[in-house]
């Protein structure tokens, strides 16, 4: 089904897989043609000039083609958006209007084009009126004097703009050619797999349609109430139900500390990655050390001292310094030349130490290193054996950090409706308690159902695990 036909899918195969939407330009060449994007993802526009910083904000590029085969990006210096010329052997003074005498030009010069130096990019002024062949004189508003015999380029500062998913091409598009919106790669990543989610706005609208109205348990409710409960529900679900674990690949610097991610709520696991790319879980050092919240500088009698603003003076933590300087192998009891790559064929060390490590504390007998959460500074601290190691930080967010996060897996959509319904009923007056309890149970059941669905327990995975039953584990 390549063409959307009234189902939930509204993008064509090409839009989804290639991130491209193609248009035919008008039958006659003209400026100001508009093209409407039908991507599910909204277009984001900063600038159409790659030389500007705003261009990096765009989540798409615009291409033109004469044959829909070879595509050229549309930018200020594109052949169809600019033209060149050379003023004759006279100086063109500042003024408005001023005619630039030209000796050469290769395409129409259009109103609102910018006059720039073809080699240096210096801006001289703007074109006041359209001009076509033979281009002997162009009426302009000149703000910077043009030297004698200067190679000029007439270009649009913004050959195209975008607003509310409608692209307006300021340049003159040739007749019956092609234009293409091409999504950037990272945008395409976001688009792929998006069908397994429902946008929170859709959930809110669906809820208002199906659960609110005359003759229903909720005759009327404010939209902002529904938004609040939906977002709170998404937050709660993010903590323990949804597959919303995020991860970052980091390396531990000299300072043995990395900053918490901007959307961090809690960690799920920290691991270091060995040279084979295998991850080894790093354990929390909770029982071994801590990061003090405050380190007041004390006087000789132990009383904290204050600065000129009457606030306690704060020093650096000696606990942290000493923890950073220690050798974790002295805690774990590991050999100093311990090897920590997941290579089962490297057995020299193990062969020599088999049966010789009785009496170790299992809690600290690990060679993967430790981390500690420094809530005062918003950091993760690491033990010194992890210095310059590659680590992964897996953490959970609350599903509300960015616009793209505001979506719920379809497998948990029903649970979210139940959550909103219960939350509204339980905070409304005049609702009988048995009704509230009914929806409390319903919410609980649907949430449990969503957890089971999202835990991704597949039959073949269970079979694989169960095969271990046949393995001899005792001699």
């Amino acid at each position: 089904m390549p063409i959307p036909n009234g189902g939930l899918i509204t993008e064509t195969n090409r839009q989804y897989y290639a991130g491209a939407q193609q248009f035919n330009t008008a039958a006659t060449a003209s400026v100001g043609q508009t093209f409407t994007s039908t991507f599910e993802t909204n277009l984001v526009f900063g600038n159409s000039d790659p030389a500007t910083n705003g261009y990096n904000l765009n989540n798409f590029k615009l291409y033109t083609s004469a044959d829909a085969n070879t595509w050229t990006e549309l930018n200020p210096t594109s052949a169809i958006a600019s033209t060149t010329g050379k003023n004759t052997a006279v100086i063109v003074a500042v003024g408005n209007p001023v005619n630039i005498p030209l000796t050469l030009a290769n395409a129409d010069v259009l109103k609102d084009m910018t006059v720039v130096n073809a080699s240096t990019g210096v801006v001289y002024g703007t074109v006041l009126a359209d001009s076509s062949n033979p281009w002997t004189s162009i009426s302009c508003n000149i703000t910077t004097q043009i030297p004698v015999s200067t190679d000029l380029r007439f270009q649009f500062a913004s050959p195209w703009t975008e607003a509310a998913n409608i692209i307006t091409v300021n340049a003159s598009l040739p007749a019956s050619t092609y234009l293409k919106i091409q999504m950037n790669e990272d945008t395409l990543w976001d688009m792929h797999g998006d069908y397994s989610y429902t946008r929170l706005d859709d959930v809110i609208n669906n809820f208002l349609i199906a659960y609110v109205g005359p003759g229903k348990l909720i005759p009327s409710v404010k939209r902002t109430d529904v938004i609040f409960h939906a977002k709170r529900g998404l937050q709660e679900f993010s903590y323990d139900t949804l597959r919303s674990v995020r991860s970052q690949e980091l390396s531990v610097p000299e300072s043995l500390a990395v900053v918490m991610p901007q959307d961090y709520v809690n960690y799920t696991r920290l691991s270091f990655i060995d040279s084979m790319g295998v991850q080894h879980t790093i354990y929390p050092a909770n029982a071994l050390t801590l990061r003090p919240y405050a380190t007041p500088i004390q006087d000789n009698e132990g009383i904290p001292t204050q600065d000129s603003n009457n606030s306690n003076l704060d020093g650096t933590s000696k606990i942290t310094q000493e923890w950073d300087a220690n050798n974790p192998k002295k805690i774990s009891g590991a050999y100093l030349n311990d090897y920590n790559v997941a290579d089962i064929y490297w057995q020299n060390y193990y062969n020599g130490s088999l049966g010789q490590r009785y009496g170790l504390n299992p809690e600290t007998s690990q060679r993967n290193g430790w981390f500690i959460v420094d809530d005062r500074k918003g950091l993760f601290g690491f033990s010194s054996d992890l210095k310059e190691k590659l680590i992964t930080l897996e953490y959970i967010s609350d599903g509300n950090a960015y616009d793209l996060d505001l979506r719920i897996p379809k497998l948990a959509e029903e649970a979210l409706y139940s959550h909103i319904l219960y939350s509204i009923l339980s905070t409304s007056v005049g609702i009988q308690e048995y009704v509230v309890q009914r929806f409390k149970r319903e919410r609980s059941a649907k949430l449990r159902n969503a957890k089971i669905r999202l835990s991704n327990i597949k039959l073949d995975t269970i079979i694989q695990v169960m095969r271990n039953k046949s393995k001899w584990i005792k001699y």
């Binding site: 509310a164 998913n165 005359p214 609040f228 977002k231």
Partner: protein
């Protein structure tokens, strides 16, 4: 879909004149008619609220909510709300007409001029009679337009109006004298406010009051966005949040029924002769004709100081209300 003003007037006169009880002048009738129409119109909303709380029969013609909605639908309007100086404050759609400073009913009569080469298209001209009145293309969507041909009202299905042009679907009779009346619509109640710009989805705005606004703007979870915008409705203006919204606002609203006019010319014996061209019918649904007449009679009883008329009319109106709401 209107109640003929002449039918109502003649019926009222017939009942009043029976047994020589009294008489009601056209001026009195027009004023009482306006009052009565508004009274019935206002009951629609309370009745709808009442009926929404009662289980309805999902049967054709018997669903009271649907029936009430049908009556209200005559006055439902939808239009763009213009932004004031490209800000987040918007005027109501009908205010374009009010800003002219003219009376709420212009009652403009104008002889249209046929445009060259298109005999089915006519341009709404100016009324040269004192005081001279004109309308603009921008005002047209904000008013009710009636077109008369040789004194008879032409059905709106026979023409469409684009700007100041009246395009007839078939060529009118040669020599037909066309008269155009324009009545600006008056805003009555605000319905939904929608925001739509470019190719983005349409979003419904939520109405809040100033007390809530502070909390909503302060809460990060409920802060208004372009996807979940909110508005304040104060002093006949809509203030939208987030403040980045400065265009693309449209509103659904209920307009006020236009006042009925029973207009006349004087006959040879100085008698009143009904003039359809300059009269305006009751806009209420035909189902309300009986109630309308009874209520006018009730007021007429007060005017002519006849308690018996008041009692009979009041009893009838009450009986009708009981039937409709029980």
């Amino acid at each position: 879909m209107a109640i003929n003003v002449n039918t109502v007037y003649q019926t009222v006169l017939l009942i009043l004149n029976k047994e020589q009880r009294g008489y009601m002048t056209p001026v009195e009738f027009n004023k009482i008619g306006t009052q009565t129409q508004l009274e019935i119109f206002e009951t629609y909303f309370d009745s709808l609220n009442q009926q929404l709380r009662v289980p309805q029969a999902n049967t054709d013609y018997a669903d009271r909510v649907v029936n009430l909605d049908e009556k209200i639908s005559i006055f439902k309007e939808f239009g763009n709300a213009p932004s004031i100086s490209s800000s987040n404050v918007f005027n109501l759609p009908q205010q374009l007409g009010h800003n002219t400073g003219k009376a709420s009913v212009i009652g403009m009569e104008t002889a249209p001029t046929a445009t060259a080469g298109a005999t089915t298209q006519y341009v709404i001209g100016n009324n040269t009679a004192a005081p001279p009145q004109t309308i603009t293309a921008a005002q047209v969507p904000n008013g009710v337009i009636q077109v008369f041909g040789n004194g008879s009202l032409i059905s709106p299905s026979e023409y469409t109006i684009n700007g100041l042009n009246i395009d007839f679907h078939s060529q009118p009779t040669t020599g037909l004298t066309l008269i155009v009346n324009y009545y600006p619509k008056q805003f009555y109640r605000l319905g939904q406010v929608l925001y739509q710009v470019g190719a983005l989805n349409t979003e419904e705005l939520q109405r809040v009051d100033r007390g809530e606004l502070y909390h909503l703007l302060s809460s990060k979870l409920t802060q208004p966005t372009t996807v979940n915008p909110i508005y304040l409705y104060e002093n006949n203006q809509i203030t939208v949040y987030p403040t980045s919204i400065s265009s693309g606002l449209s509103v659904s609203y209920i307009r006020k029924p236009l006042p009925p006019i029973w207009n006349f010319s004087l006959g040879g014996n100085n008698q009143y002769l009904y003039s359809a061209v300059s009269s305006y019918n009751f806009e209420l649904h035909p189902a309300d004709q009986t109630e309308l007449i009874l209520k006018i009679l009730l007021y007429a009883g007060v005017v002519i100081k006849d308690p018996e008329i008041i009692q009979v009319a009041a009893a009838q109106v009450q009986q009708e209300n009981i039937n409709q709401q029980s």
